[in-house]
Amino acid sequence: MGSKRLFVDFGSTFTKLVAFELEAEELLARVQVPSTVDEDVTIGLEQAFDLLAESVPLGQEERRQTVACSSAAGGLRVVCVGLVPEYTTEAGRRAALGAGAKIVGSYSFDLAESELREIQETAPDIVLLTGGTDGGNKKVISHNAAMLARSGPGVTNIIVAGNKSAYDEVETLFSGSGKNVIYTSNVMPEIGVLEVAAANHEIRNLFIARITEAKGIGRARSMIADVSMPTPAAVLEAAKLLADGTNGTPGIGELLLVDVGGATTDVYSVAKGAPTSSSVRLLGLPEPYAKRTVEGDLGLFHNLDTLKTIAGSEPLPEDFEEAVEAMCRENSVPEGEQQTECHLLLSKIAVHSAVDRHVGSLKQVITPNGEVTVQRGKDLTQLQWVVGAGGPVSFSADPVNVLEGARFERDMPMLLKPKEPEWLLDREYVLFALGLLAQSEPEKALKLMKKYIVHL
C-alpha cells in the first residue's frame, strides 16, 4: 500500500469519498455520489470509487483500507431514560451526543406504560438507561429496567450507566429478556460530577459491532476496512485534535465549530468555558470539555419551516418564500442570485440560532448583598477560533457572513458567544475524514488540518 488514504462518509443524501496523500500531506480529491443506503450501500460506494478513480489512480489494496463513518439510515438513534431531567437524564443525553448520536427521546422518573409504548414505537438503536448516583436512588432505575425488560422487539440494545449499587437487581430483571444489555460506569457517579467517557465508549462500540450491521451499512465491510463511528463523532474527534493537538505538536487552542447540514445543525465546542469574570457564580451540571449539541430543527433543507419562522423577525429579501421553495425542491446548491441570497440568509440563521443554544448565559440575581451574576453553560466570549463546516457553509458564496451568526451581540449581552473570533473554514469539506485519520495518524491529520482548514 502506498501512502494514499481513503475515507468515506455514508450520509443520508450523499456518499462522500475523500483521498489524501500522506507523504506529500495533500488532499488528492473529494467526490460525492447520491446515497444508496436504502437499496444497497455498496452500490454507491462502488460508484464513488469509480468516480474517484477518474482523477486518482486507485489500487485494490487502497480501496480495502478505506475507513468510513456514517450518518445514514437515520444516524445513531438513542433514547435516554434517566431519573431527574436536569441530572441523570441530562448526563445521559450528553454522553449520547458526545458519541455522535441523535437523541430520539428523553424520559425521566418512573416510566409509564404509555411511555414504554412510545419507546417501542420509536424503535431506537440504543436505550441509554441511567438514574441515581452511585449508592443513591435504586428504585427508579430498577423500575425502568423492569419495564424495558418486558418491552417488545422495538427495544434491542440497552446500555446501563446508572447507580452501580442497583446493577445486581437490574441484571436479574433483564435476565431472560433477550435484550442485549451492556453495563458501564455511572454517567453521574456523584451529585454534580459528570463522567460520560465510559458510556460514550460503549455507545460507539455498539455502533460498530451491531448497529451498522442492522442498518445494512455493515455490508460495506465486504469492500473496506471498517465503518468505525457515527459521522458527528468523527467531526468531534477532528475538533478535539485541531484544538488540543497531539503529544508532540500543539493544536490551535480552544474553538467552536459549527457544522450546518441538510437535516441538522451541529455545534461543537472544545473549551472549558469557565467564567471569565471572578464575580460570576457557576450553576448547573458541569459542562463536558468537548461538547456537542445538535439542533434537529435547524437543517437547511429538511427544516426550512423552522428557519422561515425564525427568519420572520428579520427583514426578508423579495420573493424569499418562492426562492426557498425552489431550493427545497431541488435540494441542492443554490442557483442564481436570488437563491444564493436566500441560502446565505438561511445558513446564517441556522448558525445564529444553533450557537445561541449551545453557549452559556448569564443572569442577574438580586440578593440582600446586591446583584449577583450567575452563569449556566460555557462562557465562550474570549474564544479565538470559530470553525465553519458542512456543505451550506463550506460552499457558501460568503462564509464570513454566515459565520457572523456565531458572534457575540451587544443587544444580547447575556449570551456568552465569542466576542472577537477569527474565522476558519473547512473549505474542502474534509473534517470528517481528518477525524477518522486522527485515529491512526494524528500527526498527519493535524498537519492536513492546518493546511486545509483555512483562515478567512
Binding site: 431527574v84 441515581g132 443513591g136 436512588n137 451529585i191 440578593t367
Partner: protein, 143 residues
C-alpha cells in the same frame, strides 16, 4: 437518652453566619437527636453525602446571607438522585431580599421541595417540635 433520629445541620454555600446553626445543633442534641454538624460554608453536595453516610432522617439548613435560593437550586432533585427521596428538608434564616416578605419566600422554598421554612428569630423549639411531629407521621406512614 433515646435517639429520635439523625439530623444534618450547617450553613449552606459560602455563608459564614454560624451562630444560628450552632444553636440549632445544640438544641437538637439536647432534645435527643443524633446531630451531624457540618458548620459554616457547606456546599450542598456535602449535606447530601453526609446524609447518605449516616442514613439521616432530616437536614436543617441555615442561610442568613440571602443566597439560599441559588445555593439550594435543584436540591430536592439532587437528594432524589442520591437516594434520599424520603429525607425531611428544613431551611431557615434570611431567605430572600426583603425580610418582610416571608410568605413569598416560604412559598418559593416549598415549591423547591422543602418541607418546612422558617423566618429569622424563630424559636428553635418550634422547629424541633415540627421535626418530631413530621418524623412520627413519616414513620406511621411507612409500611
Amino acid at each position: 437518652m433515646e435517639n429520635l433520629g439523625c439530623v444534618i445541620t450547617g450553613t449552606v454555600g459560602v455563608d459564614a453566619h454560624v451562630i444560628g446553626t450552632k444553636i440549632v445543633s445544640r438544641a437538637l442534641r439536647e432534645a435527643g437527636f443524633k446531630v451531624v454538624e457540618l458548620g459554616a460554608q457547606t456546599p450542598p453536595e456535602e449535606f447530601i453525602m453526609a446524609a447518605q453516610e449516616t442514613a439521616a432522617d432530616a437536614m436543617m439548613i441555615s442561610s442568613l446571607y440571602g443566597m439560599a435560593e441559588m445555593d439550594l437550586e435543584g436540591f430536592r432533585d439532587k437528594c432524589t438522585e442520591a437516594g434520599l427521596e424520603d429525607v425531611l428538608l428544613y431551611v431557615g434564616g434570611i431567605l430572600g431580599v426583603s425580610r418582610r416578605d416571608f410568605p413569598a419566600d416560604e412559598a418559593k422554598f416549598k415549591r423547591m421541595g422543602f418541607d418546612r421554612v422558617y423566618p429569622p428569630e424563630t424559636d428553635v423549639r418550634t422547629a424541633i417540635d415540627d421535626l418530631k411531629a413530621d418524623l412520627s407521621r413519616k414513620r406511621a406512614e411507612r409500611p
